[in-house]
């Protein structure tokens, strides 16, 4: 019986969160979400399900677009992209995300790159997974300093997309759209609900029973360490090596 590494747990969780999607887009420097999408594609293929399309932005091999940068956004606007990943320097309890900076705008004390496509994609992609490995009160704040994109919109504002879940290196939250807040669903191996309460800067609801985050079975783990690692190495060679080293260290 082999156990999954912390990163493999994240990849497997992303594959679960993506279950049922037809087309998932992944940012250029997001190897864990890309691995999760590749695992979903392989699992769906094994089950004889609908083929899953993955668009990795900035990759030559895994990018179907021929019209340049605007095609992704046009595609999303038409409902042709079912899932996407967003992160943020700050994420608050209402699902607002900040990719711009901390402190007073515009002369931020700490300036991050900027909002990228978030102020559009968060509104139009049905299943947006917020993913940030760091689980700390510095990232998970009560209120973001700048709203790159809001978690919810008032009635009357066009909004077919939004947050589906928040996955960190320690826990998994679902998003309650009607209440505009997160709910703690499960805690990853090695972490406790108490620790999550202490390291989260915002208030959140809790599932009646907070379970350990599900782990991949042996067959899924073998798939992850075989085919998925090979696929991943084409676009993220360094990350594939890290995953391999993780798993080898675990076995030894």
């Amino acid at each position: 019986m082999t156990e999954a590494t912390a990163r493999e747990t994240l990849i497997f969780t992303i594959a679960r969160l993506l279950d049922g999607v037809r087309h998932v887009a992944v940012g250029a420097s997001s190897p864990i979400p890309a691995a999760g999408a590749m695992l979903l594609r392989a699992l769906s293929e094994q089950r004889g399900g609908e083929p899953v399309r993955i668009s990795i932005l900035g990759s030559a091999e895994h990018n179907f677009f021929t019209q340049g940068a605007s095609e992704l956004f046009d595609c999303a606007a038409q409902g042709r992209i079912d899932a996407f990943f967003l992160g943020g320097g700050q994420i608050d309890g209402a699902g607002n995300i900040n990719l711009v900076g901390s402190g007073d705008y515009p002369n931020s004390e700490v300036r991050w790159p900027g909002s990228f496509g978030s102020a559009f994609l968060y509104y139009v992609v049905p299943r947006v997974i917020l993913f940030r490995e760091e689980h700390s009160p510095r990232v998970l704040v009560e209120k973001v300093d700048f709203i790159s994109a809001p978690g919810t919109s008032p009635p009357g504002v066009y909004r077919v997309g939004g947050p589906h879940a928040l996955l960190t290196g320690a826990a998994l939250f679902s998003f309650e759209g009607d209440k505009g807040r997160f709910r703690l669903d499960s805690v990853h191996p090695g972490h406790t609900a108490e620790e999550i309460r202490a390291s989260t800067g915002f208030a959140f609801a809790e599932a009646p029973q907070i379970k350990p985050t599900p782990q991949p079975d042996q067959a899924t783990l073998a798939l992850l360490r075989g085919r998925i690692l090979d696929e991943l190495a084409e676009t993220y060679p360094q990350f594939a090596e890290v995953l391999h080293a993780d798993a080898t260290g675990m076995a030894a």
């Binding site: 095609e71 300036r111 790159p113 900027g114």
Partner: protein
């Protein structure tokens, strides 16, 4: 007619105060022309990123050539944050107009079509919209109770990019980098650096003509080998990740930036 000029003559066509549109790293940013632009002493540029900026934007900011940046992000990708940009924000030496990628593209498409604005979904309730007094929310004239943001046309004075090749007639191969065509359509003048200039018309082959920007839009071309370096250029060469990391480390201080740029100019001049 498209002019064929030297890199320094090309850079001289970018005037102080100009609104200059540039593509992202890896999508044809003409990093090689950057030293010529800086050496020309140009100031007060208003950069328009289509839709994000990288190394070239950071270098122009570090050299003090920029007063305003209109963008949805500035980043060195895997090499991390853009150091000169971050410093300029903290020291309040540039004005930032934060946007989101499709808003930058939509503004440029409006200019391409010659219309004053194009409506766009998203944005409502964000601080991006709140901090952009130049953007307006309008009512959808075709439906009740449907507010939508009108993105005004972005009309750059000039755009600059690097491509694999141009022909003697001024046609330029841009492949599937639609943002390069877009900034050319939207801008008054288009300046291009290329790896090589070929004698046969790029439009003569029907199979590849769709990926060619016709000379109609191309004001001037300069040959500049490895003009995208240290970024990669599709079909030509890979990004030089070590060099980008060297820049990222050096540019953390203003002095380090100056030292790097002196050496960078030297390396490119060889």
């Amino acid at each position: 007619m498209t002019a064929f000029v030297s890199p320094s003559e090309l850079a001289a066509r970018i005037k102080s105060g100009a609104k200059l549109a540039v593509p992202p790293d890896g999508s044809g940013a003409s990093v090689g022309l950057t030293k010529f632009i800086i050496d020309s002493g140009v100031r007060d540029l208003h950069l328009v990123c289509a839709p994000i900026g990288g190394l070239q934007v950071d270098m122009l900011v570090g050299a003090g050539a920029v007063s305003t940046i209109e963008t949805s992000a500035v980043s060195l990708g895997e090499a991390g944050g853009a150091p000169a940009f971050i410093r300029a924000i903290r020291q309040q030496t540039i004005r930032i107009m934060d946007a989101t990628c499709p808003a930058m593209l939509t503004g440029l498409v409006a200019a391409q079509k010659g219309v004053p604005f194009i409506p766009m979904r998203g944005l409502i309730g964000s601080d991006i919209l709140r901090t952009r007094p130049d953007w307006t929310v309008i009512d959808n004239p075709y439906a009740k109770d449907d507010p939508i943001v009108a993105i005004p046309a972005i009309r750059p004075d000039v755009c600059l990019f690097h491509a694999p090749e141009a022909d003697r007639f001024g046609n330029v191969r841009v492949g599937r980098r639609g943002e390069l065509q877009l900034i050319a359509y939207a801008s008054d003048i288009t300046l291009v650096t290329v790896e090589r200039i070929v004698e046969t018309s790029l439009l003569s082959d029907e199979a590849s003509a769709a990926g060619v920007l016709p000379s109609l839009y191309v004001s001037a071309v300069a040959e500049l080998k490895h003009g995208a370096w240290p970024n990669g250029l599709w079909g030509e060469y890979e990004a030089d990740a070590d060099e980008i990391s060297r820049y990222a480390a050096a540019a953390r201080t203003a002095e380090g930036f100056d030292r790097y740029m002196d050496a960078f100019s030297g390396a490119m001049a060889q």
